[in-house]
Subunit: 188 residues, 3 copies
């Protein structure tokens, strides 16, 4: 009888240990999440990232897009103006595209002709425009993060960025936190 | 005796619950798989992606390459001709490289001289050419997907693409499905 | 009594099987590790990769940076000179940037003016320089791998690379081995 009780206690102990291990595995298992670093300011890469983002959201994935460096100006609102910038801020403001309507193909831009051609082609082939894809992403709950350091370096102000639900301004740590618990990551 | 039976039933129940959890973890654990989005049309990035692909396959990884945007024309067969294209399709066909023999370095191309230099250097150093690497990838079971939307936008027809075992034409959803269950992902 | 013993043996067996499954899951679960392929030779992408690397290390992640292709010359030491190169090696040596001080922005370089502007801006905004970030990465234990094939193709010698703790020269297999067991991967 004693031996039996010992055995029981033993299996209880081992069971609890295994349960702890399983709980730990469950806690650290990646979530069904996609994290993209949107570094590029090119039309083609921006299109690719939003096609992937909306596609993933449609499949039920949690999607985070972290806009940084040349990707940041894509999210400027062409209709918004802000004052009070210093000289460098004004220069960056003038030289970088103001919103997705102004971005160009990384190849075959040909003074804008290639970009225009691609856009007309997309319309003809019923591929949504970048503007429409951003609206779709918003509807689908795609989360957009904007890199605070890029905002600061380029002298952008929050007031000149597009309206987007729950836009988050953050640093690399927040992006990495999301990436750590995601199944898929891309640097675009 | 009753208490004992209760205990037994209890551990049976808890065991079953834990087993379910473990089965779920096993089912959702990533496979030993590499998924690469081959977006670039540059010789250097194409080389990198095939070196990684064949290296991963040699290590026993399941490898999926998803060719999209500028990566798509790399898989055109230079010896194949198709008719019946509209004007834009003809323009894209003429302006984009026809197969891997025509792609250039992203830097130091120098009117083709840098690319030629790199190719002769690769030969000298016994690095396989892109053509040979594709053949090797095919032998090793690397799976190649081609983005249907890119085919459509650029007016490419399936008849002009290279012969490759089990070439799959698909959309972003199929690529994401593979990425979701993979250990490693790269956007190149 | 016999039935009881049978049950006990049965649960023991099933417990052992489940334990094996859990151990296997634990063994193959990704580590808290970030693997980056640093392919690009552009200042902006190099900055991004070191900001991510040091950020991840600060969060306790194990970080591996694999420098390949155009990323390789970033790790040359500007003060080191080596002899005995053949003609192509001398050409690559002369044409590729010698260390991080010489790299340029991928956009808005404007004959060096944009790059200089960005650097002065970084100083003003208290963003560490690339040189400082490499020193910080070294202190934080970020591991740097250099692609042997790239060294060979570009004719670089180990004697001309920067001093960095535990610099590893390796091939794609070693990089993939690290990537396989990592939570996050980026191709930059």
């Amino acid at each position: 009888m004693k031996e039996k009780e010992g055995k029981e206690k033993d299996i209880e102990k081992r069971f609890a240990a295994l349960k702890g291990q399983v709980e730990n595995l469950t806690k650290t298992a990646p979530e069904n999440k996609l994290v993209m670093i949107c570094f590029s300011g090119d039309l083609d890469k921006a299109l690719a990232s939003f096609i992937i983002a909306t596609g993933a959201a449609a499949m039920g994935m949690d999607v985070v897009m972290f806009f940084t460096f040349w990707g940041t100006p894509l999210l400027r609102d062409k209709k918004k103006k802000v004052g009070g910038k210093d000289l460098l801020g004004k220069m960056f403001g003038a030289m970088l595209p103001k919103g997705v309507g102004k971005v160009k193909l990384s190849k075959m831009n040909m003074g804008g002709m290639g970009t225009a051609m691609m856009k007309s082609l997309m319309k003809k082939k019923n591929v949504a425009s970048l503007e429409d894809m951003i609206a779709l992403a918003a509807e689908m709950g795609v989360r957009i993060f904007i890199c605070e350091m890029s905002m600061d370096l380029m002298g952008f102000q929050r007031e000149e960025m597009i309206a987007y639900p729950n836009l988050t301004y953050c640093g690399v740590a927040k992006m990495l936190e999301e990436a750590q618990s995601s199944k898929v990551q891309f640097f675009i």
